[in-house]
């Protein structure tokens, strides 16, 4: 390509004229701009769109993996009916929203407080930030596995609690993962441990972008620290808060890894999230067409949330850009 710099050298390679014509054609703006677009769309077409259409077709079949696919027959909306009447589907959906709600609220509160404190410290600031961001980079499976080690009956958590429980006559070897309510919170806390780092990061960048003059002006005018926080800082942090809520809730609704590693959906079905439920239906019970119908319904439920989330995200990111432009 270097010959294209200023003038095209005379000695074009033999047979180069057709190649050059191709290159010239590709270099036109109307063609050039579409090359990457087409490539990416081809990837999406073959990896996501065609499989999705296949799933729509399969969701109308009556088919389990024990019979050949070609012999399956259409069953209309039978699968959808089955999904909508399956109690497991609804309870798994409920658990998912419950987990996501609890985890996101905790993550937001803890992340906000930590970010506020870190943004106001001078000493060891870099060290705190580095440590607080570590969980984000750890593989979720490792987190799940780590917490199984901590939660076992003779694990360190029970040891730390023992001095408080033994005087009360309670056996300190609490079975964290065998009690339904405790197991649910075990999953939530593992998620909070890992993803508070993300809300912390978002809020930290929000705090560091706060305009200093505005806060100083408020202080000079005699505002108390409390007033500055509520009336000046919090409104300016609103975009960061919305972004954190949207991004974390979208991710929290996908929760799967810690459930598999910590509880495998148990005890009973108390920690089955929707991702785990569908995985079990398809990969353990081989109910393919049931799984296809369920995931289409799930997609419909999530699509509205996703649309709303992206709408908020786009609006707030415009607000962030405006705020940071000098």
């Amino acid at each position: 390509m270097s010959e294209a710099r200023i003038a095209v050298p005379e000695s074009a390679p033999a047979g180069g004229s057709s190649r050059r014509r191709l290159r010239d054609w590709l270099a036109q703006e109307r063609v050039f701009r579409l090359i990457p677009f087409v490539l990416v769309e081809v990837v999406f077409l073959f990896v996501i769109i065609i499989p999705f259409l296949l799933m729509v077709y399969i969701s109308f079949l009556k088919w389990r993996a024990n019979r050949p696919f070609e012999q399956a027959f259409l069953s209309g909306f039978g699968n959808y009916e089955q999904v909508l009447t399956a109690p497991g589907f609804w309870s798994a959906l409920g658990h998912t929203f419950y987990f996501a709600g609890c985890a996101v609220v905790l993550e937001l509160v803890i992340g906000f407080v930590l970010a506020m404190f870190v943004s106001r410290t001078v000493r060891a600031r870099g060290l705190y930030i580095t440590i607080f961001l570590v969980p984000m980079m750890i593989v979720p499976v490792v987190v799940g596995y780590n917490f199984t080690m901590l939660y076992i009956d003779s694990g360190p958590i029970n040891q730390l609690l023992a001095p408080f429980l033994e005087p009360l006559g309670i056996d300190p070897r609490i079975r964290w993962l065998s009690d339904p309510a405790a197991a649910q919170w075990a999953v939530i806390l593992a998620d909070v441990w890992q993803w508070t780092s993300l809300t912390f990061l978002i809020f930290l960048s929000g705090f560091s972008a706060l305009p200093k003059q505005l806060i100083n002006a408020a202080r000079v005018m005699g505002a108390t620290a409390w007033q500055i926080f509520w009336r000046v800082e919090l409104p300016l942090l609103k975009p960061a808060i919305v972004i954190a809520v949207v991004i974390r809730s979208m991710e929290a609704l996908k929760i799967f890894d810690p459930v598999v590693l910590l509880t495998a959906g148990g005890p009973g079905t108390s920690t089955q999230t929707i991702a785990f439920y569908l995985w079990e239906q398809v990969w353990v019970f081989n109910k393919f067409s049931f799984g296809a119908a369920a995931s289409i319904l799930l997609l419909i439920i999530f699509a509205t949330l996703i649309f709303f989330g992206i709408y908020l995200l786009v609006r707030q990111s415009a607000a962030v850009a405006q705020q940071r432009a000098p």
Binding site: M1, P36, F44, V47, V139, L150, W279, V282, F288, I310
Partner: protein, 322 residues
């Protein structure tokens, strides 16, 4: 309220001292809370590393041993030795060598290749979107949707697609059977598709920081489009590409659901390997598991620290840039 000018010196002194004391107390409380959270963060990591050096008897001892009493490398040597024994030979569960080399290779290969391909495709598309507004105003948001869809919804159709439809289609069209289920190509393909939104959004933020006038000047001086892209734009976004590559690599490295659902038994990535230990049939082998966990974790934490400043771009889809 009295303004400082109205105070006598003595008053000002005592007020100042009180303020100072109060401020110092506030700083101490703040540091105490921050240190407490740092301990919460470090504790599970410490526990994993400690367990990886423990003998089997110490894994579930009561009261738990915080520091391994006889530190041993046995867990590491177990997972790094090749399995030379015949299959089916009965062994004690705790003596069973679990080989980490195969999954390590699979993970490295799949993550690197898919991150590279996604980076190439995504960078050019981001350039195209930024400069020519390809795909219209809302194209970039449409791309974001793919990332927000729960992966289980993608995994179910992909399983049928890889295991049934592609073999059928290949047999009728090409006459040979091609199965993408349980292959590195299959896993890489879905990783490319799922990480493309991240690449596009991150690269958009980097490319939009390059002033268009530079390219314009190069074009005016007669440089071709590709030449401009290669010699003007790419050098300026090069560090951004490295950051994006590392970010996507970390994402792929951590991916579990798709790897679990689309492979069995040939291709094993590291998270899937770790999950295998967790199943009841193998028993809970905390020691080797901790060793594998440590090996998986340390490289990505180091990589992540290298790109710490840019993590926010990736995780917030470029809505927050610094």
């Amino acid at each position: 309220m009295t303004t400082p000018a109205e105070m006598t010196d003595q008053q000002a002194d005592s007020a100042g001292a009180r303020n100072l004391r109060r401020r110092r107390l506030r700083i101490v409380v703040r540091h105490a809370i921050l240190v407490a959270w740092a301990l919460v963060i470090l504790f599970p990591i410490f526990w994993m590393i400690a367990t990886s050096f423990k003998e089997s008897g110490e894994w579930v001892a009561w009261p738990p041993h915080w520091i391994p009493q006889q530190p041993t490398f046995k867990n590491y040597s177990q997972i790094f030795t090749f399995d030379t024994m015949q299959k089916g030979v009965a062994r004690e569960a705790t003596e069973q060598p679990f080989n980490v080399w195969g999954p390590l290779g699979d993970s490295l290969l799949i993550c690197t290749v898919s991150a590279l391909i996604a980076l190439l495709l995504g960078t050019f598309l981001a350039y195209s979107i930024s400069r020519f507004n390809v795909g219209g105003k809302h194209f970039r948001h449409a791309i974001l949707m793919i990332r927000m869809v729960p992966p289980i919804v993608i995994a179910i159709p992909l399983l049928m697609y890889y295991a049934i439809m592609i073999p059928l289609a290949a047999e009728t069209v090409l006459g040979t059977r091609i199965v993408l289920f349980d292959t590195r190509v299959g896993v890489s393909a879905i990783y490319i598709a799922t990480t493309l939104p991240f690449v596009i959004w991150m690269m958009l933020t980097f490319i939009e920081e390059v002033p268009y006038t530079l390219e314009h000047a190069a074009r005016m001086m007669g440089a071709g489009r590709l030449y401009t892209l290669r010699r003007v734009v790419l050098p300026l976004v090069g560090s951004g590409m490295v950051v994006t590559f590392l970010f996507v690599f970390i994402l792929n490295w951590a991916e579990f659901l798709l790897a679990l659902t689309l492979t069995h038994p040939d291709v094993v990535t590291l998270p899937v390997l770790l999950n295998k230990f967790q199943s009841a049939s193998e028993g809970r082998l905390f020691g080797p598991q901790a060793a594998i966990g440590t090996i998986i974790t340390i490289p990505v934490v180091v990589l992540g620290m290298l790109i710490q400043k840019h993590l926010i771009r990736g995780f917030s889809f470029g809505t927050i840039r610094k």
